[in-house]
Amino acid sequence: MSTTENTSEQTRAARHALLADPRRVSPEAGATISRDPALQQLRRQLLEADGRLAQAFDEVRPAPGLAERIILRARYRRRSLWAAGVAASVVITAAALFMLKPAADSPLALAMLDHVIESKYELDNDGNVAPARVQASLATFGVEYRDMGYRVRHLADCLVAGRIGKHLVLSTPSGIVSFIILPDNGQALPKAQKLGKGQFHAVFVPRPRAAYGAFAEKNVSAAELEGLMQQLFVQGTAQT
């Protein structure tokens, strides 16, 4: 096989690998992609498309209290319907009251970005945190974390603008990205925005019960940061 034919075959194999799974490619395919701008472009398109797909799939959400109904039915099937009904209604009411709470304040996005810049040395750490630990940690904020197969390098509580939130650092196909999630503290949240400082930039997205920020160096686009947030964190609709 000639060199040209060999290269063509490698390109075809890499394209096939990307279409099968743009997040996980073999080292061989990865090397071919790194040499081919068209394949890099295809990968970016596929990752962005996957973010949109994930958002569309998320449009279908369970009614409040699903987990409690499942638990009641699976574990306490013999309990009276009355008891189950009361328990479920308490859960639904609590969820509704929780969602009705208003939300937070304005220099918040900048404070989040400052926190990431101040703790940028955490980007060098790689604790290889188990996804189950992230899921359990974020569940305390009512946030569902979806394990997309990205390596979680860092997970810790953080103090930003007087709120204790969660700081995650992930290795993604776009690069190393930090996320900060701050719980609602009852004040109005600023609108979704993009901001930058030094070599970092950020996308800030308010949601009903928490403020989300994604942060990376400027080689990662804002669209990629938004796509990652949509993929990784499931909660209420953005308040934009």
């Binding site: 279409l19 498309a49 998320d58 699976a74 099937r77």
Partner: protein, 185 residues
């Protein structure tokens, strides 16, 4: 730090709270009906609880739950559980150099409608990878396919979606199928 305990009611509760939302979405996209999806999920977790001690590791439990939901969906539909290997999977796939810009589809609803037109055999692996983040190996285990067939199916799924996007771009017709409505809307 969360400790995944040995099988216990508390552990069951933890797992239900961690995974019920994503499993509901899976069931809803399979069944294309949110009420049926909740019934499938209820029954699946009831079955899972009865066999809870059979699974020890958490990554395995997640995949196990997906398998139970899938089986429950098939049972619910009155289908015979058959190997879903497609005889045509071995045929060569025409690969595109690019895909349409998803930004052309302004809303999630438009994309959702396109997804509703995808055949089930393509929709399911696309959901498991794009929305759940599973690898081809994990999808292969759940769908009872070989890894190679799964990779080919993923490729076909993306190409089919691409074709639908192109068709939709040139067509002014409204989508024929409306998928299940978002929860609480």
């Amino acid at each position: 730090m969360l400790k995944w305990l040995r099988p216990s009611p508390a552990h069951f509760d933890q797992v239900v709270r961690a995974y019920s939302a994503e499993l509901f979405r899976y069931a809803a996209w399979l069944a294309r009906d949110r009420h049926r999806a909740e019934n499938i999920l209820q029954e699946a977790f009831t079955r899972a609880w009865k066999s809870w001690s059979q699974v020890e590791s958490e990554p395995a439990r997640r995949a196990w739950l997906y398998t139970i939901v899938r089986n429950e969906f098939i049972r619910d539909a009155g289908r015979i559980k058959a190997r879903m290997e497609d005889a045509q999977e071995g045929e060569p796939v025409e690969l595109a150099d690019d895909i349409p810009d998803p930004g052309d589809f302004a809303t999630a609803v438009e994309i959702r409608d396109l997804l509703g037109k995808l055949p089930e055999k393509y929709l399911e692996p696309l959901f498991l990878q794009s929305a759940v983040g599973m690898s081809c190996e994990e999808i292969a285990a759940i769908m009872e396919l070989s890894v190679g067939a799964t990779m080919t199916r993923m490729t076909r799924a993306r190409m089919a979606l691409r074709d639908l996007m192109q068709d939709d771009t040139v067509s002014t017709a409204k989508p024929a199928l409306r998928l299940v409505q978002a929860g609480g809307k």
